[in-house]
Amino acid sequence: MRGLWAFLAGSLFGIGLLISGMTDPRKVIGWLDIFGNWDPTLAFVLGGAVGVMSIAWAMARKSTTPVLGGTFPAPSDPRLERRLAIGSVLFGMGWGLSGLCPGPAMASITWTGTGGAVFLVAMGVGMFAAPNFGKSRMPAPS
């Protein structure tokens, strides 16, 4: 069951990325190009996603366990370490250069050909190498 729901969530995430324009690197670079021909579409994408998700967090706070059992993620860690800032800056640089972040890079891999594959392999190498630069791992994102 967990696998089936994970597959459905991944599928819906991918369809959302496709419809919203996040899988088109021109739109992503256009959104980051605030000194050029700025494209505000991504503000609508983030707004729509955060709006729905804030309802989900409110529902999670009211219930004790997820539908398939287990526990909800721990409350967000309030600590801000240097690696959070450095990592986010490095990620933003790569995002701006390519117009790709991890979700859309995977969602579009069936049509981005050699370029998309090269990006994903480099991303995988970076992910594999990264923990060596840092110290303790935080338990969950955000």
Partner: protein, 141 residues
């Protein structure tokens, strides 16, 4: 273009629904870099099946939809050097920060996580400066 904004809002709401399902049903935060990163560095070995099936849906379903709707055209830069550098930066950066646009952006901001908000401000600023330099100063993208 306002039509793009409407598609952005609808697509964004679907992304939010996917993250909501993953949270309320599976009890997990839907962060793309965390799901794939845990498979790459081995920290997610315990629930590898759940991660792999999430990624299978993420790769194949939009693939089918894009080919069926005739929108399966790549608009990536043809400069492989830029893509290698960008991929390395995204890989290292998201693991150091422990999240990307979906984990810190969508799931973090929506629960008013200070880490998510700070991470999002940093990657948006870094992305903006990078596009300014790479497009308008160096002309590489």
């Amino acid at each position: 273009m306002p039509q793009d904004w409407i598609f952005g809002l609808i697509g964004g709401a679907l992304i939010g629904c996917a993250a909501a399902m993953y949270l309320l049903i599976n009890g997990r935060i839907m962060g793309a870099s965390g799901i794939v990163g845990g498979l790459i560095d081995g920290t997610g070995r315990g629930n590898a099946r759940e991660r792999l099936l999430f990624l299978a849906g993420l790769v194949f379903v939009p693939g089918v939809a894009a080919y069926a709707s005739g929108t399966a055209t790549s608009h990536l830069t043809s400069n492989l050097g830029v893509l290698i550098v960008a991929g390395l930066l995204v890989g290292v950066g998201t693991r150091l920060a422990n999240g990307c646009t979906s984990g810190h952006g969508v799931c973090g901001i929506s629960r008013l996580s200070l880490r998510g908000i700070v991470a999002t401000l940093f990657y948006l600023m870094a992305g903006g400066v990078t596009v300014l330099l790479a497009r308008h100063v160096w002309g590489v993208v």
